[in-house]
């Protein structure tokens, strides 16, 4: 029973040493697994535990304990560990609720990275890498169809005020949102550029899958011919990669961040029918760990548009991931359907469910169709369908 790091024969203990404080201070309170605390809006924590496998080894607590055992020199079944840590959305909820600020989600991310390096990633991750290398997107769709979303749209390739990077979700399954985002930005007077055939994945799916080297290469490609000083990403998960790529040479915003700023500065003026019953779909981007965290101003945007959602903000910070994120869809496809269905079970009184992140929009849109629930709209889709635009100030 030793708490010392194991001899560093294969480099694993040294890699995991960064989290030693977490290992030895965790009180096993299980908040990161399945806490329920109504006064704090908490009703469950880990979507994988709730909808895939109700055993703590599949949660942040399990990642922490596995990393500790490995750090201490225990023999680890790396394939079994991979099965567990790749069934994580990376939503960061486990870290958000930890009463003492431990980092189970970041430990999970490090384990994924380590397992990829040691060739123990599950088969769907290998498929993902192949898809990225072959087609440049995680869906293994033909690269040539990446630009279909932009058909008939007019772009300002010269003297553009910003570069629009839709991301893979908005380029394919949520393409209506991508088209709407461009229209909204143009309504605000932006001269929107798009890379056309040169547009490609930012590498976010690879980074989430622990394929860090591949992701770095993808990010390096983004920076190569970056001419604009402003970039707006359609997908929330795309922004961190673009920020790393831009290295401060360009301001990178998600579409949500751009829209929030445009409304606050009145560059964009909109009016929405105040009688419209909208359910605000609270996402998890705002609590993702480390560099993956992205501001999610959905409710502020709706308020600026004069829309009061039918669902109040209680619990918004603790909403469970819908299943769209991380490696979940590739690794546990049935579970992500249950996650989406659970999130869609609540908003019955709404005419529309509004989602900020294009990836959630794509995932939930499909689930909503299967359930015949209210339609799921991206923020831009909501505006183009239900708003009147004033002239840019």
């Amino acid at each position: 029973m030793s708490t010392a790091a194991a001899p560093d024969a294969d480099g694993v203990p040294a890699r995991l040493a960064a989290y030693a404080r977490d290992y030895y201070h965790c009180a096993d309170c299980s908040y990161c697994v399945d806490a329920v605390w109504a006064e704090r809006g908490l009703d469950g924590v880990c979507p994988t535990i709730a909808h895939h496998r109700p055993v703590a080894s599949w949660s942040g607590r399990g990642y922490l304990l596995a990393a500790r055992a490995w750090f201490e020199g225990a023999a680890i079944d790396e394939d079994a560990l991979a099965e567990r840590v790749f069934a994580c959305s990376g939503c960061g909820h486990c870290e958000a609720v930890c009463p003492i600020g431990l980092r189970p989600a970041q430990i999970g991310a490090s384990l994924r990275e380590l397992l990829v390096e040691r060739s123990h990633a599950p088969a769907p991750i290998a498929d993902l890498r192949t898809a990225m290398r072959t087609h440049g997107n995680p869906y293994a769709l033909p690269a040539a169809s990446r630009g279909d979303w932009a058909r008939d749209l007019v772009f300002a390739q010269d003297e553009a005020s910003l570069l629009y990077a839709p991301g893979c979700a908005a380029a394919w399954p949520a393409r209506e949102e991508a088209r709407a985002q461009v229209r909204v930005m143009q309504a605000a007077g932006e001269r929107v550029a798009w890379r056309g055939a040169a547009d490609r994945c930012c590498g976010a799916p690879l980074r989430e899958a622990g394929c860090t080297e591949d992701a770095q290469q993808a990010e390096a490609r983004l920076a190569r011919d970056l001419a604009q000083t402003r970039v707006v990403t359609g997908g929330y998960e795309c922004a961190p990669g673009w920020r790393r790529a831009a290295q401060g040479r360009a301001q990178v915003q998600t579409f949500g961040e751009w829209l929030h700023e445009a409304l606050c500065t009145r560059r964009l003026q909109v009016e929405i029918d105040p009688g419209l019953r909208v359910h605000a779909f609270d996402g998890c981007a705002g609590r993702r760990p480390g560099e993956a965290r992205v501001a999610d101003p959905l409710r502020e945007i709706l308020a600026l548009c004069g829309v009061e959602p039918v669902n109040d903000a209680r619990g918004a910070a603790h909403a469970l991931c819908c299943g769209a994120a991380g490696t979940l869809p590739a690794v546990v496809p049935d579970a992500v359907k249950r996650m989406a269905a659970a999130r869609l079970a609540a908003p019955s009184a709404a005419e529309a469910i509004v989602v900020a992140d294009a990836r959630c929009r794509a995932h939930l849109g499909e689930a909503a169709r299967a359930r015949s629930s209210a339609p799921v709209l991206g923020l831009a889709e909501l505006l183009t369908a239900h708003a009147r635009f004033g002239a840019p100030a």
Binding site: M1, S2, T3, A6, A20, Y23, Y24, H25, C26, A27, D28, C29, S30, Y31, V33, D34, A35, V36, W37, A38, E39, R40, L42, D43, P54, V55, A56, S57, R61, G62, L65, A66, R68, A69, E72, G73, A74, A75, I76, D77, A80, L81, R84, P99, I100
Partner: protein, 466 residues
């Protein structure tokens, strides 16, 4: 904590139960929140009903395989640590609220229901089970019943076990037993006493050594119209103990749902953190927070009377501490003493003890000795008011990488000192096993009961010294 492999026979999991034997899965079943060393199970089984548990226990008895029963794992007495190997029975899959009978005033739940989940359902109905611990988000009702858990004694409700109407228990031979009025077929749970001895009491605090609790019926209470916290400061613990004693002998306590007391170091730490400009030397040497509940006029009268009593014992209102601490707890519906850092700093070893109110100064003197003798550990302590007497907790926060041995030794020394100070274990598990063994006739009787109910000795070996 590097034992990730275990050896031993696997039991056939009953149909419908989840069986786990991968070392990575077993890692999460090694221990609870205590500083006690982890155990190493061969298998974990997660059933979903009593019949599956009965089938498993029959098979375990035949094969003489130890079975450790686990709820939320938030205890700090090591009761769920599988020190003898074998099977961990994870009751998380029995998490249904079976019945809310507002007319009878009874709620029946399965053991894996979390306090937080039950409170979430009851609150909109204007109901509560009364005692809700700080571990409520993850602690289970079954764990609390089985382990005398959550020391959240209550001035109004006494101990958690006092809120139990009856139980369903699966014995080691697979017999399904119901206690209280539910022992009579089709009668249901509405009375705990009346049919001979109180068999519920055998299993409440039994640490799953005599049977596995599979249903718990609890009394329901209306949520009070008004709740308000007040804090009273005293020069020293002796004056505070006299105040508590007078409260416990009088009528005021009828309106006090929870009460807890904090020693000088805790007061200074919290005030210093919240208001750095304050001169800490001028703060009281002990404080008591009371959480009043009832109709507004009843609460006002009780508050006024409590202040009068406090002043008679040299104390006075201490609104600053109320604002920075007790009122916050009320807002979060948390009624646990201390929270002085449980979860808020790191791991901690905790010894919980029951004591007569008059022994409170001696209990706190033990804490002072611990601080002096083990300065490398960070110590905390507090007491909770019961209807009579107190529950006290001593906590030692530690870094498991460097201080595990030290905290283990410190807890042993501290337990002996508490015994010498007239305090006895409250919730035992394995932490206090040696102390339970010292209570010779009591422990001998427990052993005879154990031999009768669990002849193969499979249920939670080591708990309560059995």
């Amino acid at each position: 904590m590097s034992e990730t492999s275990a050896i031993g026979p696997l039991l056939r999991a009953p149909d419908g139960a989840l069986s786990l034997d991968a070392p990575l899965d077993l890692l999460v079943y090694q221990r609870d929140c205590s500083a006690l060393r982890p155990g190493c199970a061969t298998q974990a089984v997660r059933p979903t009903d009593s019949a599956q548990i009965a089938a498993l226990l029959r098979e375990a008895s035949a094969a003489r395989v130890p079975v450790y029963v686990r709820g939320g794992g938030t205890m700090y007495a090591g009761g769920v640590n599988p020190q003898a190997g074998g099977v961990v029975l994870d009751l998380g899959g029995l998490d249904r609220i079976l019945e809310i009978d507002a007319e009878r005033g009874v709620v029946v739940v399965e053991p894996g229901v979390r306090f937080g989940a039950l409170a979430q359902v009851l609150a909109p109905l204007g109901l509560t089970i009364g005692i809700i611990p700080s571990t409520a988000p993850t602690a289970t009702i079954g764990g609390a019943a089985s382990a005398h858990a959550l020391g959240t004694g209550s001035a109004r409700f006494q101990s958690f076990a006092d809120q139990v109407v009856g139980l369903e228990v699966v014995l080691a031979d697979g017999t399904v037993l119901r206690t209280g009025s539910a022992a009579a077929q089709d009668a249901g749970f509405f009375h705990r006493y009346g049919i001979g001895p109180d068999l519920s009491g055998l299993f409440l605090g039994g640490d799953a050594t005599l049977g596995v609790i599979t249903k718990i019926a609890l009394w329901l209470h209306p949520l009070p119209a008004l709740r308000r916290t007040e804090c009273y400061g005293f020069a020293d613990p002796r004056a505070a103990a006299a105040f508590i004693g007078e409260l416990q002998r009088g009528e005021v306590l009828e309106r006090v749902w929870y009460g807890s007391g904090y020693e000088a170091a805790s007061i200074r730490a919290r005030v210093g953190a919240a208001q750095p400009e304050i001169d800490l030397a001028g703060l009281p040497g002990f404080c008591i927070g009371l959480d009043f509940g009832g109709e507004p006029d009843e609460v006002a009268r009780a508050q006024s009377r409590a202040l009068e009593i406090a002043r008679r014992h040299g104390g006075d209102a201490f609104p600053m501490f109320n604002a920075i601490y007790f009122d916050r707890l009320r807002g979060d519906q948390i009624y646990w003493y201390s929270f002085a850092g449980y979860f808020a700093r790191s791991r901690c070893g905790i010894l919980m003890a029951s004591l007569p109110t008059t022994r409170m100064p001696a209990f706190l003197a033990v804490l002072d000795d611990c601080r002096a003798q083990r300065p490398a550990l960070t110590w905390g302590g507090a007491v909770v008011l019961c209807r009579r007497g107190l529950h006290g907790g001593l906590m030692a926060f530690y870094d498991e990488a460097t201080q595990w041995d030290e905290v283990t030794e410190a807890l042993q020394t501290c337990a002996a000192a508490l015994r010498a100070a007239g305090c006895i274990p409250y919730k035992s598990g394995k932490l206090w096993a040696a102390e339970v063994r010292r209570m010779t006739p009591y422990h001998a009787t427990l052993r005879r009961l154990k031999a009768a109910l669990d002849p193969a000795g499979i249920l939670s070996p080591g708990n309560l010294g059995l």
